[in-house]
Symmetry: C2
Subunit: 354 residues, 2 copies
């Protein structure tokens, strides 16, 4: 039996699972693909989108590599469900705005998701906790190959895969990692490091992707160019750079613990204090404070708390998940109060000795 | 036997005593006086200052109204003692810089203090918790009269009492109240109210007087003009205005508790949380957070804590008092750590239910 959306909402998100501890939280690869001899979604009419979407869903239902996926038509999803999917990074802000003729296909373990008729006909992504771009690429590549045999993709010998936006033409590949750089933030070096990444042709985004703020010192780092390098080259280069950034972060943490331990203790203790006492907590502040607690766990300062519990709290305090938990629509003020209550009850039992 | 400075340091400060609860924390009146036929301290040489200081101390030792005062020569006080006296508002920033020929005379209950050879030969002040300008004036006036009989003051029929700075000529009187305006701060009205006071010819200063910041939403409000109004007129006018400001503050608090109770609870709970968890706390932040807790006590949100305990904590976490408690000189970083420990141990036993 295929998974239902209610189950999906209760499960941990792939990008923030139990194993996503450490500096590199998760690795993700997505491919942009389009059907040959068909207009891009932005140019096709709604009926044409519905027809293409139906064909693609049929083709994907037959794929062994998708493991009994969940099919979700965008026009059947309410605002809260869209928000939930967005918060799990299963859909983009753009797909969240779409209706009839667009869909999301999610593999049983939520590690693979396919957006149908977003900007391109197909946006295929796979995610794994930790730094594992190569194996994530292998999984995406296998699904891509299986799907291409069924439907055929728009491809040019000179340019590679054709996409709606020229920035994706070629490999159509975007590889990204989510990093937690709170050590570099505390030492004041994070901006310099991130600027350096820009000069290497990488893009830096916030926790929830394009156009979102970097709450909680969590940054998505990804390749910008999709032309002139092979898929494996892109992935090897990004992996090497991410390892270097991770090393910078580890060094910053070691220096902090060596020479500024009280300052780190203070930051972690204050985060815990506010999280367990606030009566009003907005989503950005909650992520920022949970990031402080996360650093405390990773440095061994906070003992009775797991990264999995923090990840879950970050996710379940997002507006969509929060309203799902409450079972009703909440105003922003109500959400801030409900969020504070939720965080308090989850963390107060933990206790804190620092 | 006269009080020693060690006893003075351990006692509660007059301006922050047990009874200083509510919107008006304390009332203060000070008089500027100069000896007739003697150069102002800024014009007199050091030897002349020493001679005048000796005469004044002798005269004051005879005053019944000073109740066995403590005599402190400024040149015999170390940095920490000067800081302690400053934090108790017993001396000004200017006297704290003085040496030989300047002194402080403090009455046994610390409610009356006389600075000798600050800007003027005599700066006589009295303080009481709450709004009691009239009775404070009566006390100052009695001492002033008794002292004038002994030494004789520089006085002009046209101008009144003569002072080193023209802004004090006339009555030489400055009356001030310390107010805790955290309700108006939370409603965003405090700036408008304080600007209004400026238009009424009143001066607004921070907790520790001229040139200090208004930490903890505590403001000193005082008359600026010392000419053209009698002492009792100045005091009656200031009392009337302060009552009005206090009413504004009470109204703001009532409105907050009626329509934004969660927000107030949140502010108070966060203050308590950080005070009981921080490992590093600077002096300004400590006062700000203690102000939040003070509001909580006054609104009945925080039950197991007295205003006296908060006042004492504000005072004992100031740099001078802190170093007195530690029994040694502390660097600013050490102070911030020691302060955090002190506050934590004082408040953690209180518990908090909000």
């Amino acid at each position: 039996m295929p998974m239902m959306i209610d189950e999906l909402v209760k499960a941990p998100a792939a990008w923030m699972s139990r194993r996503g501890a450490g500096v590199v939280i998760s690795s993700r690869v997505r491919l942009a693909r389009n059907l040959k001899d068909a207009a891009f979604p932005g140019w096709a009419g709604e009926d044409e989108c519905v027809r293409l979407c139906g064909n693609l869903k049929q083709a994907m239902a037959r794929l062994e590599s998708l493991q009994h996926p969940l099919f979700l038509d965008m026009d059947k999803l309410g605002d809260t469900d869209r928000a939930v999917l967005r918060e799990r990074n299963l859909i983009s802000a753009e797909l969240a705005e779409k209706g009839r003729g667009s869909a999301l296909v999610v593999a049983g373990d939520q590690h693979v998701a396919v957006m149908v008729n977003e900007e391109d006909h197909i946006r295929l992504q796979a995610v794994r906790p930790g730094l594992h771009l190569r194996s994530v690429w292998n999984r995406v590549n296998a699904i891509d190959t299986e799907l291409e045999e069924q439907v055929g993709f728009a491809f040019s010998r000179e340019l590679g895969y054709l996409t709606a936006c020229p920035s994706n033409v070629g490999t159509g590949l975007r590889a990204s990692v989510m990093m937690h750089l709170s050590g570099l933030k505390l030492t004041g070096e994070v901006d310099a490091v991130l600027n350096g990444l820009g000069k290497l042709g990488l893009a830096v985004r916030g926790l929830f992707g394009e156009g979102t703020e970097a709450y909680g010192n969590m940054f998505q780092i990804s390749n910008q160019s999709t032309l002139g390098e092979s898929e494996t080259e892109i992935i090897a280069r990004l992996t090497a750079i991410v390892k270097e950034v991770a090393q910078h972060e580890e060094n910053a943490r070691a220096r902090l613990m060596e020479s500024r331990q009280t300052y780190v203790l203070d930051q972690v203790a204050r985060a815990y204090a506010v999280l367990t006492h606030a009566h009003v907590l907005n989503s950005g502040e909650a992520i920022d404070l949970l990031s402080g607690l996360r650093l405390g766990v990773e440095l061994g300062i906070v003992k009775q708390l797991s990264i999995a519990a923090i990840n879950e709290t970050v996710l379940f305090t997002q507006p969509g998940h929060l309203q799902r938990l409450a079972g009703k629509t909440l105003s922003p003020d109500e959400r801030d109060m409900y969020r504070a209550e939720l965080v308090k009850s989850r963390l107060q039992q933990v206790g804190f000795q620092a």
